[in-house]
Structure formats: C-alpha cells, structure tokens
Amino acid sequence: MKQIAHPIQMPIVSQEPQYKTPLNMALSPDGKEIYIACEASHTVIVVNVQTRQKVAEIPAGHHPTDVTFSPDGTRAYVSNRLDDTVSVIDVSARKVTATIPVGDEPHGVLTDASGKLLYVLNTSADSISVIDTTSLKELKRLSASRSPWSLSRSPDGSLIYVTNNLSRFVRFRTPSVSEVTVIDTAEVVIEDRIVVPAANLMQGVDWHPSGEFAMITLNRTKNLVPMTRLLQGWTITNGLGIVYKDGRVYQVLLDESGVCFPDPADVAITPDGRLALVSSSGSDRIAVVDVHKLISMLEAASDYEHEHVFPNHLGKPTEFVITHIPTKHSPRGILINPDGKTAFVANALDDSLTVIDLDRLEAVESVDLGGPRVITKVRYGERLFHSANITFRRQFSCHSCHPDGHVDGLTYDIEPDGIGISPVDNRTLRGILDTAPFKWEGTNPSLQRQCGPRLAVFFTRIQPFTPDELSALDNYICTIPRPPNRYRPLGAELTDAQRRGKKMFERTLANDGRIIPKGNRCATCHFPPLFSDRQRHDIGTKLWLDRESEFDTPHLNNIYDSAPYLHNGIAETLEEIWTRYNPDDQHGVTNDMTKDQLNDLMEYLKTL
C-alpha cells in the first residue's frame, strides 16, 4: 500500500503499438505516388505506384482522414479530423508547411479543377469550408446537410457532389431523408440538394466519366421496424445510389439473399466507365459492378420498380455485380489508377493496401504500410466492432449504427414487443468509459452485458460474441476518444454568455425567488465530471410508446454533437428539450427562464 501511495521510481511507460489505420487515398497528378491518410498514426504514408513500396511517412495533424492533391501536384491537402485543421504538404519536401483552421471534424477534401479553391467537409459542423489556396484563408462556409462525408467533382469540373452521412432531421417516427449536396463550382454556392429517401450513411461518391451521373454508397436502415423481425426486411440493407445530374436518384442493393454487403464505404469507377468498385468494410470485400448492366436495368425499369422494387430487392444485385474480391480487414477508400489496369484499396484495420488487377478482377498483391505485426486486444476489438461476421447473413456491424464510434442520428425500435414500442435514440460511444449503466432504461450494468447476450437477442440474431471477443470489444469501445470540446478549448476561460449559463445551470433559486427543489436543479443529476449521476429519473418524457417512465441520465460531455436528444430522439435541438418537452418543470425548473437565460444555458451546456 505504501509502495502504491509513494512510488519510488517512474512507472513503466506503456508501449502501445502504433497502428496506421489507412482510410483514404489520393494519386499524385503525375501518377507516380499514392498519398494515404492514416488515422491512427497521424501521418500520411507515401507509396510508390510502380514499386508498390512505402517510400515515406509524413507527420500530419491528429486523425488524418482524407487527402487530395493540388492539380499541379506541388501540394497535398490533408484533413485532420481531431484537430479541426487541414495540413498543407509540400510534396517535393515531403513535409507540412502550413496548417489551416477549418470547421469541426473535417473529413473529405477536394480542390476545384483550377486548384484555386479547396473544399473541406466539416463533418461535425454540417458545413463546407471554402479555402483560398493562395492565401490559405477560409473564404466562406457553405451549409451542407448533416455530417458531410465525401465529395467528387464532375468530369467537366462544374459540379461537386457531397455525400452526407446522416439523414436530415425528420419528423418523429418517420423514415430517413438523406441529401446529396450539389456545389456549383463557378459560383461557389450550393446549387441543389438532391433528396435520397429512406437512405442514410451515404459515404463514398464518384462521378461516372460520362458526366451523366455519380454513384454513392448508402445504407437503408429500417429503424422503425423491430430489429428482431427478420421477415419484415430486418434492420439494414446496403447498396448504391445512382445520382443523375438532372437530380434523379435510383437506389439498388448490393446485398444478396444469402450474404449481405455491410457498410459500403467507398465507390470508384474505372476511367472507361465500365466498372464500379465498392468496398464493404464490414465484410472485407470489394464488389465489382458492371455499370452498363446496372444502368441498362435502371433505364428499362418502371417508376414503380425504381421506387419500390430495386431499393429493396435482394435478388437484383446478381444481375449487375460481376464478382466480389476479398481484401484484408475493413477496406475503406478505393483508388483506381488512370490507366484502368489497377486499383488500390486501403485496408483500415490491416495497415495495408490491397492491389487489384482490373483485367483479372483479382487481388494480386498487398502493400504493407508498416504497421505493427502484433494485434493488441484493443485492435482486435476494433476489428470486431467493424466486422459484420457477428450478425445474421453478415448484414451489419457495430459500426453500421455507430459509424466510427459515434451516432447515426436515428431512433430505433429495438424490442421484440410490437411495432413502435419503446423507441430509443442512438447514443454515442465516444467517451463511454465510466458511464454505466447502459441502455436508455439503464438496465445493463456493463458494456459486456450490453454487447453480449443482449446484442445477440435483440440485434445480431446469431451466436453471441465469445467471452474473449466480448472482452476485446469492450476494451476497444472504451478507447473511442471524445474530440476536444469545440466550444471551450482546453484552458480557455468561459465566455460571458457561458459564464451566465453556468449560473443558470447551478442556480438554486428561480427567477421569482422560489427555492428550486434539489431534485429539480440541473446540477443535482448532471454533476461533473461526466455530468451524470448515472441514475434513472422520470423527467416527464414518457410517451404512449414507452414502457418505462424513468430513463438513464445521459452524460453531457460534448452534448452538442449528438443530436437529436432525449431517450426517443424527439428533441432536434438542445433548446427543444426545455421549450417543448418540459412543460411541467420535471426536467429541471426551466419554464421561468427568459429566452436570453435559456440561450446562456445552451452556451454553457455546449462547453461540458
């Protein structure tokens, strides 16, 4: 005990292996090198296309996510998701020469055809930063939909299509409505917002060389149907969207009746427009789509088939998917060489690239990016999290509902007790350590319970994780980081509004001088550091759909980035929690607050 209390030597520093986790790639304009954004190593790895060898590793910011080149090839731009910045790499010097602040959690990056402007997708701010590449200053910020993810420029350079990972907010208990945001690159404005009904997690996007359409990856999550109801289509189907330049959108599935195509992450079309390659990060495969067959099928079909048959038909993919090519763990970004002979796939959880021969349609080589050989328990858990092997017909993975450990923004009907009963909002896994119990009804005391038999019964419908798997998964989930708070940088003082809001949060007296009962004060149930007492309370939010009236007290850290709110996701914004859903002051005494006081409270909550 004394030794523990008074150590006499420095503790041994843990030497955790440093993985690479390659996510997305870009080919240098001269075609000689591939730059790979590696999330875990905070680097960009350079691979020589000819020799297929790693030739350099360039330190970037934290969590590099996407990379693109300037058209003249002198620069590479890298989004650093954890830092809210873009690194500018001098290609000849192979080093970062500038860092540009952008919006929250930048993801996709791409220049316009001239290279004068750089578009950066701020995934957590639902916006698009437009950067002047001469001054390296942000010129403007365009509004996207929710969680803009990837972008692709039309062959003539006039349009950029942006996929959005999350559905727009929709009315309670209605299906998703997602959006492809269209940028007019001449005017640098949003020209259109193409609606993709019933789809979500739209991620990859690539234009067909004809310039007539682009293809996007998507999920069709049936969150309003109980997850146990296999016969009703079950939970998540996975597929493609074909988005024409005139705004038409057709959806097709890549799932087949025997085995699904979970978590389609990226799509790339060959230069001749003949083939489209789609990565399934949940099943470690690439689907090869015959584009001509797919388009012919769509153009011969009726409106009814476009709307009702193809988006749900598990038999159709056999008509246009030529083959599946196996990869290593969790394939994400795809890059096709301009000669149309070779494709590269970034295997995020294998620290490698798979090289595909596009004539033979086979994986012919693996490029080692230099990650550790050892697979730690956390890494193993990460692979389990991203693998659909645990679900019936490999339909989805943990990542499918918690993309990158966060939220998909949906409210789910999970329980096997009838349609529409006890709908629950999806909760983030970021910073989940020490926030037990789990589940909105607070009935699962540990993650092992949450992810073990319960998962098998209510979600995956096959043999549950083994104890070792469960332990690894638990370990991984507990390491999913919470990004730095954007409303209060580390060490920063509270702003005036935040300071006033803190007083409201901690107040004991109402505006008229009444003493607020202890149980009705914010800080009673939401106290630091997690701002949760980890107890269940009845805050008056029970609806006719709910079995219970008491719900788990959520932690409030980074609460601003996990809308919607309340146990059923009925509140689109933080304000609505109190303006709409606290009529009797059961969720804290708030109805006496003036509008400016409530605004101050919001500003403070966002700093927690």
Partner: protein
C-alpha cells in the same frame, strides 16, 4: 490612306459642330433635373405572385425574391417568370416579412411574421424559431446579413445568429439602450448594424467594437418637431439604411438624413414626400434615398438641391404620375401609363439602375435605362407642365 484621313477630318468637324450645337441648346433650354423612372412593369397574383401584399424584396443577380403575406416568390428577370413557395412547398410559415441574401454563400434568409427565421439554400428550407433555437421571438420584421451573422428584428428584441459557431445573442433592454423592444427593421453596411425600433428610435451597433449608440428624438415622443433638424424626428422608427457614411431613417412622422454630425428632417408639408407615414427607406447613395409611405413613394433625388420625385398611382385611372419638385416648387409632372402598382408602398430595393417597389397590390419594377445620379441638364419644363408618357420608349428619349 489619304482618303481615310480626309474622312476622319470630316467626321471630327461634324462632331465638333454637333457638340457646339448641343452646348448652345443646354445653356438656353435645359434645366438640371433628376432621372425619372417612366418604364414600369407590375407583378401581381395574375402574373404568378402567391399574394399581392408584398412586404419585402431582395434582388440577387437575375433573381428577385419577393416576400408576401402568403408565400415566397422569385421573379426571373430574364424571362419574367415567377416561381413561388407556400407552406405546402416547404416554406415554414406563410407570411414572409423580410428577406436578405448572404453575398458570400448566396443563401436567402427569410424573416417570417410569426414563423421565425428560415434559410433557403439549394431548394431546402431550414427553420429556426423560438422553440428550436435561440431566436428571441417568431414575429420577425427585418433580416440583415452582417458578415457570418444573421440579424433578426423581432417584436421582442433583436437576435444575432452566428452561422459559424451557432451562437445566438439576444439584444433587448437588458444589454443595449433599447427602451422599447419592438424592433421594426434592421440593416447592415460598412461595419454598422442599425435597428429601427418602435418607440426607441435608431440603435447603432458597431461590429468592430460591439458598442451601441442610440439616436432618440430630442423632442421626446411628440408628434411634431419642436426644433427642426435637432435629431431623429420621432422614436417610432420603421426603417434604416446606411450608405456612403449617411444614415437614412424612416419613421411614422417623417424621415431623416444623418451624416454623422448633422441631422436633417423631412416632412410632407415641405418636401416631395407623399406622406409622413414611412414604412421603409433605402438609401442609394449619400444624396439619394427612397421612402416607401402609405401614400406613395417619395424620392429625395438630390440632397444638395433638395430635389424630390413623388411617384403615385391614380386609383381611378390606374395611371402613374411622377412629380419633380424642389422646396415645394413644381418642376415637372410626368404622366405615365404605369408607375407604382399601389400607393401603399412597403419596400424599395435597388438593382443596379433598376428599382423594385413592394406595395399592397403587387410589385413594381422600374427599369432604369439611362439612369443617372443627382441632376443632369435636360430640356426644362415649366412648372405645371405635364409630360405624357404613352409608349414603350423612355421619357428622355421621347423628348428628343
């Protein structure tokens, strides 16, 4: 080559002769007068407007956005076609009372009377109101874009929304010199936000310093001006417009011009204002401002000479009239087939040389081909003479 030079010489001689002739004409027969808009086109429900009660207009390139009592409309200037949106089309609220376009992003911001604030971008409406956001009140009278911030003038104070950080700031009597909180209008230009407030005059917000300055009626709340040009004419202020360092103000009891040091008051009885009841004002430059009143449009066309143009519509004949005057002296009367669509004018919008006017009976589009600032020597007309505009050519061309 020789022939070419000879021809050039002849042309030069002819041009010099013509110029000399014109100059002679100027000195004898021309008087310095303002430009008068004589080419008017009307848009009403018959042309496709969703409603004839027009509260706001915003020109943006080839598009002209129109806010009405029951819907939003967009006039395509090139084709004259109108597209409109009502609640069934996704417009969050029927009454569109204010409009502004973010010059950086091209997004249209929509203030709605009872419905809060909306952004229209790429065909999608996003909606902020007092329940789902920090907007202080849903009765929005005015909207203005200031850098990355959106200002909303509401019946319960002003809101400022930062589109980058998402922060809402409310300005009321608690944190600004706002004696009353009923904000009628808001405008932004050159680093300054101006609020026109019912009962609290004009408030100026300096964006750089975030400091407020108030402009109140030195005569108190009297409906007469005891000492002229001593300040704002009345605290019931409906509109503000700041341009070239000049603040223009409309109130229910007269109008104002303020150059940072001196105030000037304008009243119906001594100017070309058709009424003292001002609904809105737009300054075009330091010397020209258009006042929308309940009895027509009053245009101070040239501040130094105090030259006014009064545009009205004859309710019986539906014909239009423009009266040019200086210190109540009648200089010119132009009779036109059309002028403003209705004398109850609610909004004015400049669009390069053109001007758009919102009234309670549709939109008037005045084409300004040949528009000039201030005054210009052109053939003089005796006071009281009526110039009749009959055809499609403009008044100035008709005179030649």
């Amino acid at each position: 080559m020789k022939h070419f030079i000879t021809a050039l010489e002849i042309l030069i001689v002819l041009w010099l002769g013509e110029t000399a002739l014109c100059q002679a004409k100027d000195t004898t027969a021309q008087e310095k007068l303002p430009y008068v808009y004589t080419e008017w086109k009307h848009f009403t429900v018959k042309n496709g407007l969703p409603n004839d009660h027009v509260f706001a207009i915003k020109a943006d390139g080839s598009k002209v956005w129109v806010g009405t009592e029951n819907g939003l409309a967009c006039i395509d200037k090139r084709t004259g076609k109108i597209k409109s949106w009502k609640e069934k089309d996704g417009l969050p609220w029927r009454v569109v009372s204010a409009l502004d376009v973010n010059p950086k992003t091209g997004e249209l911001w929509v203030g709605m009377f009872g419905g809060g604030l909306a952004r229209f971008s790429g065909g999608r409406f996003d909606h902020w109101h007092q329940l789902n956001s920090g907007l202080v009140n849903d009765v929005v009278y005015g909207v203005a874009i200031e850098n990355d911030n959106i200002w909303a003038a509401t019946t319960a104070g002003a809101s400022r929304y930062n589109t980058v950080t998402g922060e809402w700031t409310i300005y009321t009597e608690k944190n600004s010199p706002m004696e009353e909180i009923w904000n009628y209008g808001v405008s932004y230009n050159d680093g300054k936000v101006y609020l026109g407030i019912w009962g609290s005059g004009v408030l100026e917000f300096d964006v750089a310093t975030e400091r407020w300055k108030d402009y109140l009626d030195p005569d108190g709340e009297m409906e007469i001006d005891l000492y002229r040009d001593d300040g704002i004419v009345h605290v019931i202020t409906t509109g503000t417009s700041y341009i070239d360092g000049i603040l223009w103000v409309s109130t229910y009891f007269g109008m104002n011009r303020y150059d940072g040091r001196y105030w000037r008051g304008y009243y119906q009885h001594e100017t070309g204002l058709p009424s003292d009841f001002g609904n809105a004002v737009q300054g075009r430059n330091a010397n020209e401002a258009w006042f929308a009143t309940d009895k027509g449009l009053g245009v101070l066309a040239d501040f130094p000479s105090d030259t006014w143009i009064t545009y009205t519509m004859d309710p019986n004949t539906r014909r239009g009239k423009a009266v040019v005057s200086r210190e109540k002296k009648l200089l010119e009367v132009v009779d036109m087939p059309k002028s403003i669509p209705h004398n109850y004018a609610l909004w004015v919008e400049f669009d390069d040389n053109d001007t758009w006017v919102g009234t309670s009976k549709g939109v008037g589009w005045a084409t300004g081909s040949g528009y000039y600032k201030g005054l210009k020597a052109r053939p003089a007309y005796k006071a009281g003479n009526v110039r009749t505009k009959t055809g499609g050519s403009d008044a100035h061309a008709a005179k030649k």
